[in-house]
Amino acid sequence: MFRTVAELLQIAETEKIPISEVMIRMEIEESGRSREDIMEQMGRNLEVMEKAVERGINENIRSRSGLTGGDAKLIQKYMESGKTLSGDTLLDAVSKAVSTNEVNAAMGKICATPTAGSAGVVPGVLFGLKPKLNPSREAMIRFLFTAGAFGFVVANNASISGAAGGCQAEVGSATGMAAAAAVEMAGGTPEQSAHAMAIALKNMLGLICDPVAGLVEVPCVMRNAMGAAQAIVAADIALAGVKSVIPCDEVIEAMHVVGRRMPTIYKETAEGGLAATPTGRRLAEKIFGSQTSSGR
């Protein structure tokens, strides 16, 4: 079993196998389940992700609070105009990340990656890159194992909980995971995956968790959107051969320390940041005011 990114890379390099394969073999060993069984479960997770992406783009999604919904459709429609600044691949990924989080906010079915609040980034990047890279179904399943391998290291050495480490632990982790997985799917090396993860996570350090009214909606949906964009750019930077000066494990450790020292008002308590803005407070009062009066 690997505990660090360095160990993960070492196994991949000595065995001459991709990161996804290291993760699959560890899962077989740890769980005692067969390869087929494990691949099938990940395949089912992939299908849940695809359905959520499709729902957000095609249906009229609105959350119970009314705070979010419909933005994925808006971005897709804008893409049809052919006048986008950042290009179709990037915006497609962004819209699919938004789509997933909008479905999540509306109590729809999603796959947590690594959490529900950060569930948009990984599928957003995966389905956003699909038209360009044309991956096989197996390559898409492997994308999820690679993302999972990096998330696994973060979860065990730092945190993937906004309440414990702020948004950097959720959307930050997801962005790093997606960047690393995008590198492997595009044909990069395990080392490049680690650099992509490090570059992505470095730019998420310090990101606070400040949900308006305590709900997984504002700013979560847009944070996922930008996470997807950053993941793809980080993957490109690493694929170009750029290396992160600070090694991936040290970036993860830095994120852990920053999270621990982060004031609790910035850790999912809805007491700081955007949640504490005049608009944030007004919305919270409006939503919870009406829910309390109708409550039990």
Partner: protein, 219 residues
């Protein structure tokens, strides 16, 4: 290590919106239901910390009840759990508690049916993973970093040996174990923490041993 499977990271599949406040809550409810073994007539739920403050927005209440109805995190019926509970004759009341608990996402569930009663305290630690910290007033000293199983069984001689035997056969090492019972000769509970993951098939094997009523894993 707290997380031992890739599916803790890519997963669970769940109805939104929050892995800690919705999926974790559903899992706490479901573990409580499995430990109780049957649909309770009455459930009293005490919510602490962040659960108490934001449960309505996250559907924590709905998810806990969904879990009590034996719905998994991905079961669409969770959304209608409150109505379904009423239809199935399970009475649920919620209490928001002001007491500070060690972890912000904590719930205490009291399940009742006739003279049977079970009290469970569950904590949602992130990404949908949960820990059970208290059972029937007993504090569990589970490390939370190891896989754990709960075995509900008839209180009779040899039960512990039989379970230990199956685990030994599969080369699973017990790192910590607790046994408790409500009354002599009735139902008893084993809480076992292990070094290796106990697979579903091993749980099934234990469940089919004589005198075993239920086996619940904390994955």
């Amino acid at each position: 290590m707290k997380y031992r499977s890739v599916f803790d990271i890519i997963g669970p599949v769940m109805v939104g919106p929050s892995s800690s406040h919705t999926a974790g809550a559903a899992r706490i409810g479901r573990v409580a239901r499995h430990l109780f073994g049957t649909l309770p007539d009455k459930v009293t739920i005490y919510l602490y910390g962040s659960f108490a403050k934001t449960y309505k927005g996250h559907g924590t209440d709905i998810a806990l009840v969904g879990g009590l109805l034996d719905f998994d995190t991905f079961d669409d019926r969770i959304v209608k759990a409150l109505t379904l509970a009423e239809e199935m004759g399970m009475e649920v009341t919620f209490h928001e508690e002001a007491v500070e608990m060690e972890h912000p996402n904590t719930a205490r569930l009291v399940l009742e049916k006739g003279d049977e009663k079970l009290e469970v305290v569950g904590v949602s630690i992130g990404g949908g993973k949960i820990e059970i910290t208290e059972l029937n007033g007993y504090t569990l000293r589970l490390s939370g970093n190891q896989p754990a199983i709960f075995v509900v069984h008839r209180d009779q001689y040899g039960a512990i040996a039989k379970v230990a035997d199956v685990l030994a056969k599969h080369e699973i090492n017990i790192s910590y174990m607790e046994v408790s019972r409500r009354a002599k000769g009735r139902t008893a509970l084993m809480v076992i923490e292990t070094d290796q993951t106990v697979s579903q098939s091993i749980c099934e094997e234990i469940k089919h041993l004589p005198g075993m009523l239920n086996v619940v894993t904390l994955d």
